[in-house]
Symmetry: C2
Subunit: 251 residues, 2 copies
């Protein structure tokens, strides 16, 4: 399921990175792009459903998602699973592992995934040569923290219907920020089991809760995926405020 592309010629050049063309991400100088291009040692293709990183393992790499969706999760010994966050194009993964050197969570592909691969060893070089990029890394980590804070609020204090509304609108807004303006409808590539494991609910109760949202015409659940039809009302129901940042860094 995992396939590494090492040959320089086959790889996406950072200077032509399709993500950077989007207004969503900040502009980089030529020098910065040159460094990142050199910092990038390869590309990884992971098939849908494959596990990219495993809790407890050591990884010498950092990754940035180029295309596709995935999620981070932790397991308890008896198999109970908690999904921590979702990863979408532009997201950096593996930073947390820098601390203990050991991964504290696993990562799985929700769709086929393309990842840029970076060497962890050279991160310090990045901080030395390009302080702005170092600052970006801190920014990225702090943003992830904010998202986790909001998830914690949902899981801990929102009711089943509120937390479901929160999660679906959260994913909807994350995804739509990456879409062209005119994309009318798109489907979130998750199952109800993912929703359950993100929100700390059972799958049965998740199903019944989603059904209520469908009855209220806020979402549709078709073809093994979810389409959000009324994001604003969903946000309202959740008592949440979507992120408003214009541009963000990326590695």
């Amino acid at each position: 399921m995992l396939n590494i592309v090492d040959e320089k010629q086959k790889r996406t050049k950072c200077r032509q990175c399709p993500l950077l063309k989007m207004k969503l991400f900040r502009d980089f100088s030529g020098d910065e792009l040159g460094f990142i291009e050199n910092f990038k040692t390869g590309e990884l293709n992971a098939g849908k459903g494959s596990t990219i990183l495993v809790e407890g393992s050591h990884s010498a790499h950092l990754f940035t998602v180029l295309t596709g969706w995935g999620f981070r999760y932790k397991l308890l010994e008896d198999g109970r699973r908690q999904i921590l966050n979702y990863i979408l194009p532009g997201d950096l993964i593996g930073l947390q592992g820098s601390i203990t050197g050991e991964m504290e969570h696993s990562i799985e592909a929700l769709t086929d995934l393309t990842l840029c691969v970076f060497e962890r060893d050279r991160v310090m070089e990045l901080f030395r040569k390009f302080p702005e990029l170092g600052y970006d890394l801190t920014w990225i980590a702090a943003r992830e923290e904010c998202i986790l804070d909001e998830h914690l609020l949902s899981v801990g204090r929102r009711t089943a219907i509120e937390k479901t509304a929160y999660l679906l609108s959260f994913l909807h807004f994350r995804a739509s920020a990456l879409m062209a303006q005119d994309t009318p409808r798109f489907s979130l590539p998750i199952t109800q089991q993912h929703v359950a494991d993100t929100l700390g609910l059972s799958i049965v109760h998740t199903n019944k809760t989603i059904r209520k949202l469908v009855d209220r015409k806020l979402v549709k659940w078709l073809d093994r995926g979810c389409t959000v039809t009324n994001p604003d009302e969903l946000v309202e129901l959740a008592g949440w405020e979507p992120e408003t940042t214009k541009t963000r860094p990326i590695l």
Copy 2:
């Protein structure tokens, strides 16, 4: 309740920082300490129960806790509260606010608190002049992320008794890492309401759950505070693994 000390002479000098004497934190070069000392613009004393930062406000500062305990939390509109994490001596707060510029959570003092104050404006200067300190900031943010991941697992997937065992042992280990070796027993400065709001439980159920832990002689709850008497069994019950890092950065 809040009181700022600006006069240079009254402040704790970073070179004599009592925290840095502990084996828990990494060594810094003279240059680094000089920079940090200059970066520090003052000290803030906050009385027990006072609110240091408020969700939605803008703060021009970062803080490091010198002495005392506090906690970060978020509120829903109707007052439901979720405690996100606890802050202890050596912890940095306010990094998250760098992103939107607006605080996404509030901070309250659990005990009287002394904080070192830094100017957020000068963070970029830190990254430029001392890349290692910049790296430390990323490290600190990534560590907070790991902790939040574990909290999310607790709140989402552990049972009431497991999550309570997790929280109390978590706080016990965090606190004991800051104590001298010989400190036999110390008390966590929290109420059962804090435990409830951290774990997403009601206060009544929290009380009954803590009572079970007391009956099993794993903790004591006296004088409005909790003493952990059997941390190992608590960790076992939670199905958790305490942090093992030897030294960490600090700002």
